[in-house]
C-alpha cells in the first residue's frame, strides 16, 4: 500500500519546469540551427545522430532525422557523429537562425576498421537509461537460425532480455511477461510478432532501418504495456537512385525495391519508396511426400514505405505492413493468421524551434482456425483492430529544455470470435459480442539540462481507458464473476443474474492512471555518468493466453467492469562509462520492478472458444529485480559485447501455488551473452555469439494417480523445479562481394549450436503410451526432455541490383 503520492510529485515537477524556463530571458542573444541529417548515399534520414557544438552542447536527431539547437550568436564548431559514418564537422558563424541540410557519408570498408562504431559516448551523455539501439547491420551479421536474420532473436542477446523458449522469438524484458511488450512498427502496434508458431519474427530485416528497445526509462510518449517498448522503424527508400536487393535462404526468399519519387534536376527525389516482400517455402518440402501433399505451412510478408516532401519543412509518409501465415493439416486443423498495419504521417518543422508530427494509424491482427474433424467441421475467426491518432509537438525551447507533448488516442474493436459451420456440420453459426474501447493519453515530457553535469528528463502521462458499448454486460450475483474461497483455496463461479444492455458508444466503465516518468543523469566527468530512472506504466488490454510464449491463437481483451488495468513501477540506477575515443563502453544498471493487479488465469482455465473470459481470470502481483552489466568494444577489427544479467522475477496470484510467491516462467538467475564480430583483412567477416543461462523454472509433479484409465500427475507447487543450465555457441561467416565485382553478391554462412548441445527446452512427464508401435496405456510413467535446435548449418545468398 506504499504508493507514491502524485499530489506531491506533480507540483514538484511543475516547479522544476517553471524555475528554469525564465532564465533564458536575460541571457545573451541566441539563434537556432535546425535541419535534417541524411545519408548522402541514399537520402535516408538518420535517427540518433549526435550533434556536439563546441565540444560541449549536445543533441541528437529525432526519429525523423531532425535536430534543433539554440546557441549564442557567434562562431561555433558543429560535429555530427553517427555509427558507421564518417564524422562531419562544420564551422559556422551564427548571426541569425538557420536551417542546415547535413549529408553524412558512410565510412568506407577500409576506414571502417578504425572508425569508431558508436556515437561519441552517447551512452554516457544521454539522459536515457535502460535503452538499447541495435543497428540492422548488427542484426544481419549475427548467426541466424536457418539463415533468417531476426530482430527478436537479436534483442534477446541484450542484457535483461530473455527468450520465452529456445524455439520462439517471444521475449521477456526484465522479468516481465511476453504480453507486456509494446511492439511498434512505424508506430503501428504489432499484436503478434511471430511467424511459424513463434519460430521467426515478422520483421524482414532488409526493410528495417532502426530498432530501439526501452527496458526501462520509457519516455512519456509511449504507453500501454507494462514492461518494454520495442520501436522498429522501416527504411524510407533511396531517394537518389532506383535499386534493389534480394536474398535467397533455405526457408525463404526476400526481395526489396527502392527508389526516388519525382526527381529534381540534381537527381534527388522529392520523395522515395521502399517495397519489400518475403515468402517462405518450407511447404515445398512437404510436396515431396505423397502423404503430406495437401498440407500447408508457409508465411509471407510485405513491407511498404513511401514519403514525399511537400516542401522543405513538410513531409508525408505512408507505410504499411501485411503478413500472413497459413497452416493446414487435412482432416484435422487449419489456421491462418497475420498482422496488417498502415501508418499515414505528416511531419513538419514549421519553425526552427518546433517539430510537429501527426500520425494516423490502423492496425489489425486476426486469425482463422478451421476444425476439420469429421462431424464437427467449423471455422473460427477472431480479430482485433485499432485506429490510432497521435499528434505530437516538440518544442526546442532553448539550449536547456526540449519539451514534447501530445495526445495518443486509440479506438479498439475486439472481435473475440465468430464460428461458422463448414461442410454442413451441425455447428451453428454464432458471433461472440464485440468489445469496444478507447484509450486516450495526454503526455508532456521535458528534457532539461540543469547544468553541464546534471540533466533531467521528466514527464507525465495521463492515460484514460473507456470501455464502450454496444455490449451486453453479464451481471453477477455478488457483483463479480468469481469468488475466492480461502478455506478450500478454490475459485467459485457466481451465478449470472442477467445482463445489462449498453447502447452504441455508451460508457460501460472507465479507468485512468497517472504515469510519471523520470530520468536523471549526473555526469561525473565526460567519461563517467550516473543515472537514475523511475517509470510507472499502465496496461489496459490483456492477452488471453495461458502459455509461456505468444501463440497465433492468443486474443486480447480490454479492461472493463470485471477486468482491471495492470500497472507497474520500475526504479533503476545505473553507471555508465565510455573510454575517451569511445572504443570501449561499460554500462551497469540495477532495477526493481513492482507489478500490480497482474492478470493471470485460474488453474485449468479454458480460454479457447470461451465467451465468458472474465470467469477465468485470477489476479495478483509481481516483483522483479536484477542487475545488468554490459561491456562493449566498439572499434577495431574485433567488436562486440559481453553482458551479464543477474535477475529474479516472481508472482503471487490468488489461488495459485497456495497463494505463495513463485518463480515466473521468465525467471532466470544468471544470463551471460558474448557477442563478437571480427573483420578479416579481405572480404570475410566473422560473427559469433555464446549464450549461457541458468535453468528456467519447471513444475515437477508431486505425485501420480489413476483416473479414467490414464495416469495423471499431481502438481502441488508451481515452477518449483529448475531445468538444466542452457548454453549454446553460434557462428557465422559473411563473404562480402569484391570491390570490383559488379554482381554485389554476398554469402552468409551460419551454424547454430556448434557443439550440438541438446539444451532442455522443457522437461515434461507422461505415461508411456506406445509399445512396439501400438498405442496402449501402459501405466508406466517417464520424464522426457525436449530439445530444439541441434547443430543447424545454413547458408543464404544476398545480392544487390
Amino acid at each position: 500500500m506504499n504508493k507514491l503520492k502524485f499530489s506531491s510529485v506533480l507540483p514538484a515537477l511543475l516547479l522544476l519546469l517553471f524555475y528554469t524556463i525564465p532564465s533564458d530571458i536575460f541571457a545573451q542573444k541566441k539563434h537556432t540551427i535546425s535541419g535534417y541529417v541524411k545519408d548522402k548515399r541514399n537520402g535516408e534520414t538518420l535517427i540518433g545522430v549526435t550533434l556536439i557544438a563546441d565540444e560541449k552542447e549536445g543533441t541528437v536527431t529525432n526519429e525523423y532525422g531532425f535536430f534543433s539547437v539554440t546557441l549564442p550568436e557567434g562562431e561555433h564548431r558543429l560535429v555530427f557523429t553517427y555509427v558507421g559514418f564518417e564524422s562531419y564537422s562544420l564551422d559556422i558563424n551564427l548571426l541569425a537562425s538557420q536551417v542546415l541540410a547535413v549529408d553524412m557519408t558512410e565510412a568506407s570498408v577500409e576506414l571502417a576498421e578504425v572508425v569508431v562504431k558508436a556515437n561519441a559516448n552517447e551512452q554516457v551523455q544521454s539522459v536515457e537509461m535502460g535503452v538499447k539501439t541495435l543497428s540492422v547491420q548488427t542484426i544481419k551479421q549475427l548467426p541466424a537460425v536457418i539463415g533468417e536474420a531476426d530482430v527478436l532473436r537479436a534483442i534477446q542477446l541484450l542484457p535483461g532480455v530473455s527468450s520465452t523458449s529456445e524455439a520462439s522469438s517471444g521475449f521477456n524484458v526484465r522479468g516481465g511477461g511476453a504480453d507486456q511488450n509494446l511492439i511498434l512498427l512505424d508506430e503501428a502496434t504489432i499484436y503478434n510478432a511471430t511467424h511459424l508458431f513463434g519460430l521467426f519474427s515478422v520483421f524482414n530485416a532488409d526493410a528495417l532501418k532502426d530498432v530501439k528497445l526501452y527496458k526501462g526509462g520509457v519516455p512519456a510518449m509511449y504507453g500501454g504495456r507494462l514492461s518494454s517498448v520495442l520501436d522498429i522503424r522501416q527504411k524510407e527508400g533511396n531517394n537518389r537512385k532506383f535499386g534493389g536487393s534480394a536474398g535467397i535462404g533455405l526457408i525463404s526468399s526476400r526481395v526489396l525495391l527502392e527508389g526516388p519519387i519525382a526527381k529534381n534536376t540534381e537527381g534527388v527525389g522529392k520523395g522515395s519508396f521502399m517495397i519489400a516482400g518475403r515468402r517462405s517455402y518450407v511447404d515445398a518440402f512437404a510436396q515431396l511426400s505423397k502423404e503430406f501433399r495437401d498440407n500447408k505451412l508457409y508465411f509471407y510478408d510485405l513491407n511498404l514505405k513511401t514519403n514525399i516532401a511537400i516542401n522543405d519543412r513538410n513531409k508525408l509518409f505512408l507505410s504499411g505492413y501485411f503478413g500472413r501465415d497459413n497452416f493446414k493439416l487435412p482432416g484435422l486443423v487449419g489456421a491462418k493468421w497475420g498482422n496488417a498495419s498502415g501508418t499515414l504521417r505528416w511531419t513538419s518543422s514549421a519553425g526552427e524551434k518546433w517539430f510537429f508530427q501527426t500520425s494516423l494509424i490502423a492496425s489489425q491482427y486476426d486469425y482463422t482456425l478451421d476444425n476439420l474433424r469429421s462431424g464437427y467441421e467449423f471455422s473460427w475467426r477472431s480479430d482485433i483492430n485499432n485506429f490510432n491518432l497521435r499528434p505530437r509537438a516538440t518544442f526546442y525551447l532553448n539550449d536547456r529544455n526540449t519539451i514534447k507533448f501530445g495526445v495518443d488516442a486509440v479506438y479498439y474493436t475486439f472481435k473475440p470470435g465468430q464460428i461458422i459451420p463448414l461442410k454442413n456440420s451441425p455447428i451453428k453459426e454464432k458471433t461472440f459480442q464485440a468489445n469496444h474501447a478507447s484509450e486516450v493519453a495526454f503526455y508532456i515530457d521535458n528534457e532539461q539540462k540543469i547544468s553541464p553535469k546534471l540533466s533531467f528528463q521528466y514527464g507525465l502521462r495521463w492515460s484514460n481507458f473507456f470501455r464502450l458499448g454496444a455490449e451486453n454486460i453479464r451481471q453477477y450475483e455478488t457483483g463479480t464473476p468469481l469468488r475466492y474461497d480461502a478455506k478450500y483455496n478454490a475459485y467459485l463461479q457466481n451465478a449470472q443474474i442477467g445482463t445489462r444492455n449498453y447502447g452504441p458508444n455508451e460508457l460501460i466503465s472507465s479507468d485512468n492512471g497517472i504515469e510519471p516518468r523520470l530520468s536523471l543523469r549526473y555526469l561525473v566527468d565526460p567519461q563517467n555518468a550516473i543515472k537514475l530512472g523511475y517509470n510507472r506504466t499502465y496496461q489496459y488490454i490483456h492477452l488471453i493466453s495461458n502459455t509461456t510464449s505468444p501463440t497465433p491463437l492468443d486474443i486480447w481483451t480490454p479492461s472493463g467492469p470485471y477486468i482491471r488495468p495492470q500497472n507497474a513501477d520500475q526504479l533503476a540506477l545505473g553507471y555508465f562509462f565510455s573510454e575517451k575515443k569511445n572504443a570501449y563502453e561499460i554500462s551497469f544498471e540495477i532495477y526493481y520492478k513492482r507489478l500490480n493487479n497482474l492478470t493471470d488465469f485460474v488453474d485449468g482455465a479454458d480460454l479457447l472458444f470461451n465467451e465468458n473470459i472474465e470467469s477465468q481470470i485470477a489476479k495478483g502481483k509481481g516483483r522483479a529485480y536484477g542487475a545488468e552489466l554490459q561491456i562493449s568494444k566498439n572499434s577495431g577489427r574485433l567488436t562486440g559485447w559481453l553482458s551479464y544479467t543477474l535477475a529474479q522475477s516472481q508472482s503471487k496470484i490468488t489461488g495459485i501455488n497456495n497463494n505463495q510467491w513463485y518463480a515466473t516462467n521468465s525467471d532466470q538467475r544468471h544470463q551471460i551473452n558474448l557477442v563478437g564480430f571480427y573483420k578479416l583483412p579481405g572480404r570475410w567477416e566473422l560473427g559469433g555469439n555464446f549464450i549461457f543461462g541458468s535453468g528456467r523454472p519447471v513444475t515437477y509433479p508431486s505425485g501420480k494417480y489413476n483416473s479414467n484409465g490414464l495416469v495423471v500427475a499431481d502438481f502441488s507447487s508451481r515452477n518449483g523445479g529448475r531445468l538444466p543450465a542452457y548454453h549454446r555457441l553460434d557462428l557465422s561467416a559473411t563473404l562480402n562481394p569484391r570491390k570490383t565485382s559488379r554482381s554485389q553478391g554476398q554469402w552468409v554462412f551460419s551454424i547454430i549450436n556448434v557443439y550440438n548441445r541438446l539444451n532442455a527446452a522443457s522437461i515434461f512427464f507422461r505415461e508411456i503410451s506406445e509399445v512396439n508401435d501400438v498405442e496402449l496405456a501402459t501405466g508406466t510413467t517417464e520424464a522426457v526432455k525436449t530439445a530444439f535446435f541441434p547443430i543447424i548449418p545454413s547458408v543464404s545468398y544476398n545480392f544487390k541490383f
Binding site: V333, G375, K428, S549, F715, G721, S762, V774, E775, V784
Partner: protein, 293 residues
C-alpha cells in the same frame, strides 16, 4: 510441436510433419536423471454412479487409492480401510469393499435428475461431494467403415456415430469406446476435443460421422461398443483438464499451459488443505454396439 490449442488428433503425425519442416527437435527420456520427490499422499477417488438401461444390474463402483511418487515403478497404493457411503437424499447405501481399492453397491438404481452425495471417512478425515445425473440422448446409429490413411490417422476400421442433441439444454458428453468389452483409452492430445464435447455450438443439432475415439485400433471380428455419457459441467471441466494434461506431449514450440492440480468435486471437509484428487461422477449412459465383419 504445436501449441496446446491444436490438440485435435494424433500427436505423432503432426509432429512428424513438422519434423520434416524444421528437421530438428528431439526428445530424450531423463527419468533416471531426475529426483522428483513426493509430498504427503493424497486420497484419490475414481468412479461414480451410472444409469444404464442396457446394463441395469451392473454394480456402482468407487475406487479409492492414494498418490505415489510420479516416477515410482509401483502400482498405486490402494485404500482398504475407508467407510464409503452414497445417498440420494432419500436413501443411503454403504458400499462394500471388494478388494484392490474397489467399493461396490449392488442395489442402487439411479434416475435422471437425482443428486448423489458421496461421503468417505478415512484416517479421521471426512471427504464429501455430490453430483447430479444428467440425461444422455440415445445414439441414433452406429456404423463402421474402412478408411484410408490421412495425415493424422492410419488406415483401418473406424466406428462412427450419428447422434441428435436435445435442443434448449446445455449438454455435456463423454464418449467411451469398448473393444470386446474392454474400455479403450490412451493418453493423446486430441482427447480433450474428441472424447468430451459440449453442445454449446451445436445445440439441438444432429451430428453425423462422429468419431468417438480417433486412437482406437479395430480389427475384423471385434465387437465395438460406444457409450455416450451425459455428464455434468463440473465433470466435463475435470475431464477437459485431465485430458489436456495427460495429452501434453511436450512438443510445444510455444509452451503448454502451466501444470496445475486438477480440482476434484470431493472436498476434505475436516482438513481442507489435505484435498483429495480424482472425481465422483454421475452419468446417464446410452450405448450401442456393432460387430466388425
Amino acid at each position: 510441436m504445436l501449441n496446446y490449442h491444436f490438440q485435435w488428433g494424433t500427436t505423432y503425425k503432426v509432429a512428424a510433419y513438422l519434423f520434416i519442416v524444421f528437421a530438428f527437435s528431439c526428445e530424450k527420456v531423463v527419468t533416471d536423471e531426475l529426483n522428483v520427490s513426493q509430498t504427503t499422499p493424497r486420497l484419490v477417488i475414481e468412479g461414480g454412479i451410472e444409469r444404464n438401461e442396457v446394463r441395469p444390474k451392473q454394480p456402482q463402483r468407487i475406487r479409492l487409492t492414494s498418490t505415489i511418487p510420479y516416477l515410482s515403478k509401483e502400482q498405486p497404493s490402494v485404500v482398504e480401510n475407508a467407510t464409503v457411503k452414497v445417498d440420494n437424499g432419500r436413501k443411503a447405501w454403504k458400499l462394500k469393499y471388494m478388494g484392490n481399492g474397489w467399493y461396490e453397491g449392488l442395489d442402487i438404481q439411479p434416475e435422471v435428475g437425482e443428486n448423489f452425495t458421496l461421503t468417505i471417512d478415512w484416517n479421521g478425515d471426512r471427504y464429501q461431494g455430490s453430483s447430479i445425473i444428467q440425461a444422455a440422448p440415445k445414439i441414433d446409429s452406429i456404423y463402421y467403415a474402412y478408411e484410408q490413411e490421412t495425415s493424422i490417422t492410419d488406415e483401418g476400421y473406424f466406428v462412427r456415430l450419428d447422434v441428435a442433441d436435445p435442443a434448449g439444454v446445455a449438454n455435456f458428453y463423454y464418449y467411451r469406446v469398448l473393444v470386446n468389452d474392454t474400455i479403450f483409452i490412451v493418453p493423446d492430445r486430441g482427447n480433450n476435443r474428441t472424447l468430451i464435447l459440449s453442445d454449446v455450438f451445436f445445440d439441438g443439432q444432429t451430428s453425423r460421422r462422429v468419431n468417438p475415439n480417433e486412437e482406437v485400433r479395430i480389427k475384423l471380428g471385434d465387437r465395438v461398443t460406444v457409450q455416450q455419457l451425459g455428464i455434468t459441467k463440473g465433470y466435463f471441466d475435470y475431464l477437459y483438464n485431465l485430458f489436456t494434461q495427460t495429452g501434453n506431449q511436450g512438443l510445444s514450440v510455444v509452451g503448454n499451459p502451466p501444470p496445475a492440480p486438477i480440482r476434484s468435486n470431493i472436498l476434505n471437509i475436516t482438513s481442507p488443505s489435505k484435498y483429495p484428487l480424482g472425481y465422483f461422477y454421475t452419468a446417464d449412459v446410452s450405448e450401442k454396439s456393432v460387430f466388425i465383419q
